[in-house]
Symmetry: D2
Subunit: 357 residues, 4 copies
């Protein structure tokens, strides 16, 4: 491989930042040139993440000029709202950006305002960098590979949307299921809540129980799922999305319930369509008939397990997927997009097998 | 309270048996007169369950005459198929039986044959004690209290059915939701798989991941859910049931998705109906608006948390419940039924608050 | 039982407060007359602890006069330093107090200053209510039953000290082991860290790993263990104490390593001495030879499992114990002490069997 | 890198076998030429381990001639006793063997008979391939690097011994601690018990509690720890070893308690000696003062965290370590040894960073 591309990571003190460092540090095509975080500036990576101490990297405060001077490409792993201005500053300086926040995922600026534009008095705030939306590409290579290849700004998908879309989009795109009445019942490990501690993520509260949260169309990943499944279906659609918190660190399991467009189709048709759609995909494993996804089987890897079954008794379709929320649901997918943007083989630096058990 | 009723427990070496002992040992109206188990016969309870060592009880092999001589009422906590002949032997001798197996839950003997009647060559076996089915009462007091009061043979519901029925039956009974298209996405702790170890329940395999199993209408609790929700709805119905294994010991969370029968109803109507239906119920907590169920909040108790939300965006209803699978989903519910059968206050011996955290 | 004694709970928003409510609400000799907490004042118990919603109790701000007017006895479940002035105010008004903080556990006021008297500039602060120390009784009934019976102020032991003392004190008291060179290697569930979330207790950080903390004689339970083991041994001693955080909610397992005072003693002598010392103790189970303690077997109960083995190869003694840190290690022990203080049978309200699995 | 060395894995259906495949499949210097397992023969690796499905490898029955024909080097990941004859057959055919069983770890054949030589009537069986013991090298590179380099048969250390030796051996070798009176209190994730399910590893039994097992000098890793710490100390010694089962999949934390040989040494001397001894070691991180090991920080990696503290109050030393039991405690260490044997850079294929959280 030729010279390594210098890259920067903004927002290195969260779990997504940590995973970006884990993956990029062993990626043969890039070199981590600059690591930034707000509160952790001045510390070293090993102070914030002891498991990365071997990288021996300093953490700086964000400085757009410094990033532009040192790096060709930057990952932004920041909270929504906070990310957009930083992305804008980097784009102005010509830095390619892979943004892991939600700021550039929704194509409609009004949707951003509705779902992310503040609370209370500030609800409905305008997008802080709406002018960039047109150039942003939704970074799910399995759906938008060609566009990602040519992008300078990639909006890396959310974890739940990645799981839901991988399970359901091919069935919608092939017209096998009805775009109306979709239900996504998804279950996530607690790392999806980020690194900031809260009562909801305190081990004694979350460690030995399961609970739904933000039900009834209130979770912010809802419009993102709808946008992408709507694109697959070729028309607007609504999804009933129910997220759950599961007593484990990593992993998302998504169950997507759908009505078939034609009830007389062979039961194997749905899994077969997934197999057809993902033939050649380097990171999607369509399971053999009878096998079911398990988040334990993708932990630490960029792979997704998907399958679908047709329930003869009710005539409904159940599509399922399992991913590691921090890898295929965040940092791994970002690196996959980076490979496409940089013209590298898509799997470069992402061949880690899952850690099981 | 007057003299304690002598009771027997058959199948004391499983988790349900253990919970029956835990609850009955502190129940002021009964006395554990006889404890039986096949493989553990000859040992003491504390050898099999160290946490119950203080009970200092011997374990015998099953002997119907001995049970009849010592006890007025017996709990059978045995695998399906194995339970029916034992129940029959006890009933012949006039012993009241609370059966925690699936053998007397389905009113239609043909349904038992289909779902429980053997595998391979023996598939479709006839019910081993079909003659008793007519006299068996499905022991969900919140649905069949009067019948349970007069029963001599109670079929204690399965754990998943209890959770699903508590969440959805009142909405069906009130005609608020469409009996067609029901989906039950349920998540269970691993104790639901019983005490026999297997690779699927080996901690390194199950401890840090979530996975569905027996999807697509293959889990044996499906017909039981359908029977009871059908009774509530007043007509036959089908349910798409998806069970999951969650990395925790106890608890079931059920999400039931349904279409409203009238889309223009106020969003609060569904939760309000649950509140109305369960007013006065001693073990069902209808959560306040905005609150959501959590299995951690019912652990060790006989309580159920239920609620429902209407998703304005999709026009769908989501009813939810959380129970402890071994208590309200098994042993606690059996004791609740016993109280009714014996004419004791329904909450006797069941006032334990949940153990949290 | 005669009229219920009205009791108050100060500090109801923490885990210890919750356990006190769980136990006292079902205690036949007392009635919860008043529940207080600082930040949660104005809410109801069910808002703070959904699993206790059935109690339907309001939470007030602390008011010593109101407590004295309503209750004969109060539990204080507050942080150290914060507890002492409240205890003093209650004692002045004649209220019997069971204090679950560390403020009255150390008999030597100087020890309190050293271990609890502030940080930095305020290090070495004087005890905020040192005058009460002389009247305080260390509430470990298995060691100080008679004194607890006559006490008006009981200092309920810490969780680690309870586990360590139950395992080792009888061996020291009988002169079987050398008071020098004691090592306590103890492992705790995360609820021991309290209810305030922190990065150390955030599920993704603590949920799938084990780690020691505050090693090398820096944990504040060290002097408490030393005080009580010293009393058992009849002379001052030092203990090397190593606490660990285990990925579970509840439970403490303590391993105490000691040298025998006489290396030629039969190997069974140590366990036999524990059996002798705890004969008749209602809450201490000395395990059968070959059996070992397991925190899963005491979860939710006030019982302690203890045993000891002699290692023939090294000539060392290992004494072990398992307790539920929130029950025998906190609230259950406080209720046990309350029973003694009130002249009730010691096991009143504490007969719950452990919740397993 | 030049041509890949063809390697074989015998015993591919256990966790250690799976980890060997995970690591070797991405190792640039070797190619997996042959995978074997007894019961799983005829299946594919993905059938047994879905997380490794991407490897697309068949599983054969063991055949020594076939191994010799296809591979230059073999890993044996088999139970003790079962491994020795297979190792002998491979050595006879000139295959280099890295044996992950205990069969060649103890230099003294009599020790093998005592600790591993059968139960009951067969207790004290002779070593099945004692003639090979003289040529076997104990594969802990940090202690025996030069010998491993020249070995044709490497006995890869046990998981507990690796953790204990890494923490304590340098202190013994430098004469800083007394070889008498060593105590090893170690805590392991459940994967250490292997892949065969049992009641002890059934999630509901093991998932929410901690317990010791095989205490008092009965665990088979005891003589292995003693052998290696004795070599470090320059004389025979005995260790009191207490293993525990922790509710998590992976990781071992070891606490080694020791008396200093000179009580007046500066408190920092012990950690400093570890830092000195491990300077330049590629896989051992001596933690900064104040930092403590955490198994969550080494999960999935071949790294070990070690440190030591001196307890001023008791004058005792506590040395600690954390490893991933399946990587540095098994498969990773085996690959590290393989690299040495093959003359490859020691870190080849082992640069994976830990997966956290």
């Amino acid at each position: 491989m030729t010279e390594r591309v210098p890259i920067a990571i903004v927002g290195a003190s969260g779990y997504t930042g940590a995973e970006l460092m884990r993956l990029c540090a062993r990626h043969p095509g890039v070199a981590i040139a600059h690591v930034m975080a707000k509160r952790a500036a001045g510390q070293r990576v090993g102070d914030v993440f002891p498991h990365l101490a071997a990288l021996d990297l300093p953490i700086d405060a964000f400085d757009a000029d410094a990033v532009a001077a040192r790096a060709k490409l930057a990952f932004a792993a920041l909270p929504h709202g906070e990310s957009a201005p930083i992305v804008a500053a980097l784009r102005e300086r010509g830095v390619i950006v892979l943004d892991l926040s939600a700021d550039f995922r929704l194509r409609d600026p009004a949707a951003w305002s509705t779902w992310y534009g503040g609370h209370g008095a500030t609800a409905g705030d305008a997008h802080p960098a709406g002018g960039l939306l047109a150039s942003a590409v939704y970074g799910l290579p399995e759906r938008h590979r060609a566009a990602v290849r040519g992008a300078q700004l990639v909006a890396v998908p959310g974890c739940y949307p990645t799981a839901a879309i991988l399970a359901a989009a091919p069935l919608l795109a092939a017209g096998l299921v009805d775009p109306d009445g979709l239900i996504v019942d998804a279950k996530s490990g607690v790392s999806g809540a980020g690194r900031s501690p809260s009562q909801a993520t305190h081990l004694p509260e979350a460690g030995e129980g399961i609970r739904p949260y933000k039900v009834g169309g209130t979770h912010r990943h809802t419009p993102e799922i709808e946008q992408e499944l709507g694109l697959a279906a070729g028309r607007e659609l609504r999804v009933l999305f129910t997220p759950h918190l599961v007593p484990m660190s990593r992993g998302i399991l998504a169950c997507v319930y759908a009505r078939p467009s034609d009830a007389s189709r062979p039961t194997e048709a749905y899994r077969a369509e997934l197999a057809r759609a993902y033939a050649g995909e380097p990171f999607v494993d369509v399971l053999a008939p009878g096998a079911l996804p398990d988040t334990a089987h993708v932990r630490g890897s960029n792979r997704a397990q998907v399958t679908a079954v047709f329930d003869l008794r009710t005539g409904m379709v159940l599509a399922m997927s399992a991913i590691d929320n921090l890898v295929k649901g965040a940092a791994g997918q970002a690196v996959q997009c980076m490979n496409l943007v940089l013209g590298l083989p898509e799997t470069t630096g992402l061949d880690q097998l899952a850690i099981f058990p």
